[in-house]
């Protein structure tokens, strides 16, 4: 594989990694978790389990987003040929 193609692939993987990290960490685990929590709250069905599940989701959100981003960044570096 030529160097130009490897660089292009690495940039693509980094970009997709960032998007995936934002989707999972911010959208799914923060925004959708809060939306779900608030809709249940409005319906009057709030429970300790739901509260703990929402809190847990938010606590792990940034860790998971970071892990996805780092994994993609490591993969991109390998493809680029930087160890």
């Amino acid at each position: 594989m030529s160097k130009k193609l490897r660089n292009l692939l690495a940039i693509l993987i980094s970009f997709l990694g960032t998007l995936l990290a934002l989707y999972v960490g911010v959208y799914k685990l923060i925004i959708m978790n809060l939306v779900n929590f608030i809709s249940v709250m409005h319906a009057g069905g709030i429970s300790i389990t739901l509260m703990l599940r929402t809190i847990g989701g938010i606590i792990i959100s940034m860790t998971l987003a970071g892990a996805i981003w780092v994994a993609c960044d490591i993969l991109a570096s390998k493809i680029r040929g930087i160890e």
Partner: protein
């Protein structure tokens, strides 16, 4: 971020003063917009005679803001410009009280409060939270951990606050 990265950032903004102005402007506009939205939400609730909801929002955000202020005064972590010899892009003289970021805490708690009124407004404010956090870090007035902690504590505080109010 390491000292080397702060140096790179400092050098970049020294070479590009317009970018430094843009960071300052972004931070000011985002902060002002959030407070205007917060007041707008409260006025909207009062006009619609939803006094209980307005009271809950003021209580959760107010107590959270106070708790955040007390917490950062107790912890009193140094700011990046206290630790490294590079002046911040966002003009600021105050020393310490870096952790957690009160700007980010405020916008995030307002986002949770706004979400109880309108989901789309709350979502927009959460996105603004991440933009404000980025400008605070790039502006050199907070470490990355400060803005993450500010946002995280605000989200958790919002959930616990509204849950407690729902249980009462």
């Amino acid at each position: 971020m390491t000292e080397e990265r702060y140096k790179k950032l400092h050098d970049y903004f020294a070479k590009h003063p317009n970018m430094a102005k843009a960071i300052n402007l972004c931070c000011s506009i985002l902060t002002a917009a959030v407070y205007v939205i917060f007041i707008g939400v409260l006025v909207f609730l009062l006009i619609n005679k939803e006094y209980k909801k307005a009271y809950e929002i003021v209580l959760v955000s107010g107590v959270g803001f106070l708790a955040c202020t007390i917490l950062r005064n107790i912890i009193n972590n140094p700011r990046p410009y206290d630790v490294y010899p590079y002046p911040p892009v966002i003009k600021r003289d105050k020393k310490g009280c870096s952790f957690p970021s009160r700007h980010v805490f405020s916008i995030a708690i307002i986002a949770v409060c706004a979400m109880t009124v309108n989901v789309n407004l709350g979502t927009m404010l959460i996105i603004m939270t991440f933009f404000l956090g980025t400008t605070r870090v790039l502006g050199g007035v907070h470490f990355v951990k400060d803005v993450f902690a500010g946002a995280g504590i605000a989200f958790l505080w919002g959930i616990i606050g509204f849950s407690v109010l729902a249980f009462i």
